[in-house]
């Protein structure tokens, strides 16, 4: 969806920076959003880093941006469990189309990879 939305909105994005969790993803607030999402990926995680990442995002984007980023993070904690819990997979043809993005995000070796 990221590559699709960027293509459709004629926005260039650096997937490698997102996958690595550092560098400039090429979007406004991009580095702060990557830091915030990285901290929010685990509920247990580093609480000090979560606090610092939240504060940085509020300072750069405001409270509403932070709240909406937390909401998107929550959504993908939900959807990843739905997908992996129910064995969701893409049709094989779709996987072929997605191959470059899968490689760039370092997802090709994930144990949750399933093909239809």
């Amino acid at each position: 969806m990221l590559s699709w939305s960027c293509r459709q909105s004629e926005t260039e994005v650096n997937l490698g920076a997102i996958a690595a969790g550092r560098g400039d993803p090429g979007l406004p607030l991009g580095a702060d959003l990557v830091r915030f999402a990285s901290a929010a990926a685990s509920v247990r995680g580093d609480r000090a880093e979560m606090t610092a990442a939240r504060e940085a995002l509020i300072n750069s984007g405001g409270k509403a941006v932070m709240i909406d980023a937390a909401a998107v993070a929550a959504n993908f904690h939900m959807m990843t469990r739905l997908a992996d819990g129910t064995g969701a997979r893409y049709p094989a043809t779709r996987l072929e189309e997605m191959a470059p993005v899968i490689d760039e995000m370092g997802a090709s070796e994930m144990s949750s990879r399933r093909s239809g």
Binding site: V43, T51, D68, F76, M79, T86, Y90
Partner: protein, 228 residues
């Protein structure tokens, strides 16, 4: 440090979270309210414990992790713990074994409980808000309503309503338990994008652009090792 309180949260988001959270205490389609709250408590504990058990260790084999004399079967708690902590490691044989013991539709509802707990708990933690207490369970029996048109799916392990695979795997995943399916998409609309706006790459609430939302989504999915 910036103070965050409930007033910072969009009312529609609070309403969706509250409705989903409160539903954990009411009888579902396959689990009663006591079982749902108990399973949700296992999910909360799995999500928030400092050192979670590895995926190959069932919590029912470790003293003190699960409640004594649980209302739901131990295998349901084991499954809940695995889905909450290590969903990316779940395999089809594991699913077949668990759903074979619980029933495949009860399994779907169990995944849905994990989804609700993960969504609300993550949001509160990420936003710097205190965790919610689980609701008091209400008495009553599950409805055991089975949609009349369930069929095997090619794009999911679980059965879905017919026609299978006409929509994306994640969209059809919970259709066998309509109450949970409706709750999930109400949450998704408030947390992410309303379904009707999904095809609009320029849609925004005025805060994050669509690519910025997808950046957060991609990073969370990657770190959770979810290929889908």
């Amino acid at each position: 440090m910036t103070a965050i309180d409930e007033s910072a949260v969009r009312p529609d988001l609070t309403a969706a979270h509250r409705q989903a959270w409160d539903s954990l205490g009411t009888p579902g389609t396959w689990w009663n309210g006591h079982q749902r709250v108990e399973l949700a408590a296992t999910a909360v504990a799995a999500l928030t414990v400092d050192e979670p058990l590895p995926p190959w260790t069932a919590p029912s084999t470790v003293d003190g992790v699960l409640p004594a004399n649980p209302a739901a079967p131990l295998i349901a708690h084991d499954a809940m713990y695995r889905i909450a902590t290590h969903a990316g490691t779940i395999t089809e044989p594991w699913f077949e074994r668990v759903s074979g013991e619980l029933g495949d539709l009860a399994y779907v509802e169990l995944v849905a409980i994990a989804c609700t707990v993960a969504a609300v708990t993550t949001f509160r933690g990420a936003a710097g808000l205190p965790r919610w207490e689980l609701p008091e369970p209400a008495d009553g029996e599950p409805s055991r309503v089975v949609p009349p048109d369930l069929v095997p799916a090619g794009l999911n392990w679980v059965r879905v309503t017919s026609p299978a695979d006409a929509i994306a795997a994640v969209v059809q995943a919970f259709t066998s338990v309509p109450a949970e399916n409706e709750r999930l998409w109400t949450l998704a609309a408030a947390q992410y994008i309303p379904n009707t706006e999904m095809v609009d790459p320029h849609w925004t609430r005025g805060s994050l652009s669509r690519p910025q939302m997808e950046l957060v989504a991609a990073r969370i999915s990657q770190l959770r090792e979810c290929f889908y």
